[in-house]
């Protein structure tokens, strides 16, 4: 089993519904977010090109945050989701520094927090909150090992890219071109 997400950059309008849904679902403290929108504008007027990207933890296969964690609080569970055990985390910030995607933040209670693909929902067979709430259906989630999953189907017919492949992290967040 390998959970992954595909983000359709052609459909995303940057409404940030995914950000708000995540904050609500996961009780993210005010001023922080586990996912965010990046807006890229290229070119010079009048030939401008704009692209939105909904970003979050890439649930890397070769996760530098897990490698750097001195206590083992950061770990990978079945399905490839990277989690932080709050009571094992000392809040040293090594994983925050180690993440090429800057996907982690220090929770006001001291431990490090990040996107979990809403594991509490995924375990029940549901989609992460961001996926379900997206008004343009630009987020696709599922198991890459299952050819009929939403994400497998999305990746099959489109060309895609991942962020900073040169970091060697083998990210599992795919962006559809």
């Amino acid at each position: 089993m390998r959970y992954a997400m595909a983000v359709d950059t052609k459909k995303c309008v940057g409404c940030a519904d995914c950000v708000v849904a995540c904050q609500t679902e996961n009780n993210v403290p005010h001023g922080f977010c586990r996912d965010w929108i990046v807006e890229n504008v290229k070119g010079t007027y009048p030939s401008l090109d704009m692209k939105f990207q909904s970003e979050r933890c890439n649930q890397c296969e070769n996760a530098p945050c897990v490698r750097c964690c001195p206590t083992g609080a950061s770990h990978i569970v079945e399905g490839g989701i990277v989690l932080v055990t709050h009571d094992d985390c000392i809040g040293c910030g090594a994983c925050v520094e180690a993440c090429p995607y800057d996907a982690r933040y220090i929770h006001p209670q001291g431990y490090v927090d990040k996107c979990t693909f809403c594991i509490q929902r995924v375990d029940k067979g549901q989609n992460p909150a961001c996926v379900d709430v997206c008004p343009t259906y630009c987020l696709h989630f599922g198991d890459l090992d299952d050819p009929n999953s939403d994400v497998s189907k999305a990746l099959k017919n489109r060309s895609w890219y991942v962020l900073a492949p040169e970091a060697g992290t083998e990210p599992q967040l795919y962006y559809l071109r």
């Binding site: 990046v38 750097c68 001195p70 206590t71 985390c89 490090v112």
Partner: protein, 308 residues
Amino acid sequence: MVSGKHIAEIYPVLHLWHWEISLYLFLGGLAGGILFFAAYFFIIGKEKEMSTTVKWATFIAPLALMIGLSSLLYDLHHKLYFWRLFTTVRFTSPMSWGAWTLLIIFPLSIIWVASFMKDMFPNWNWKWKYLNQFESFVIKYRLPFAWILMFLSIILAVYTGILLSAFNARPLWNVSILGPLFLVSGFSTGLATSMWLSKNDAERRILSRIDIFFILTELFLIIHLFMGFMAGTAVKLEAFRLFMGGSFTISFWIFVVLLGLIFPVTLEILELNGYHVPKWVPPLLILFGGLMFRFVMVDAGQITRFLY
């Protein structure tokens, strides 16, 4: 390219590690340097000639480690859980084996100092019988003790650099030369401390000679570091620019390289050739340069990132 990531409310620039980390990296290297040369001169049998280096200066090591460890603890955001570090050994995490090294070398440094208490203060009395017994045990096995201390002090000083170089996400840090560079720099600050404390001219001349070698090696490694950046990929060039016209140009080239390395090494060479130089000036500059170096590296490293 305009990116929403740079809107401060949504995505502030990562600046998580502050002065606590820089101070610790400085004190860790300093303690490593002091302990290394104390053990080294003891092993080669120069205990009498180099009494400041072997005995007196080592007082600073546990003190430095204590302050350094306190600042590390202060930096933790989940402080009460710090003991979790010692429930596991994780070899892939420099912070983990660094913590274990500290756990061993800190008490060892105290024991080292304590075993010389009677040498330094002839009227010293440990009061309890088992402390006296322990002391004679340490004194009996001081040679293997010194070897262990020497080995651990190298790990301690290298670790202060590897802690940073382990992060591939921060291109400025992610260079393998950082470990040796921090080692050399840490040892140089350790030598400077012993040199400052020593009242014996012959001892200071020996320390000064070694220190000249270390500072020149450090300059050599810094040149290599920057040659590596210059020949590197876009992210390395970005890191390079921070020091070449960017916001760390003056703090690095003037305060670290010129005032902290070139100026003191020149003074040390002049002093060895018979010119009078106030004895506190070169060590002070070296210590200042060493501290600045850690501040610059910790701050600048967090600005650099992958470009995507």
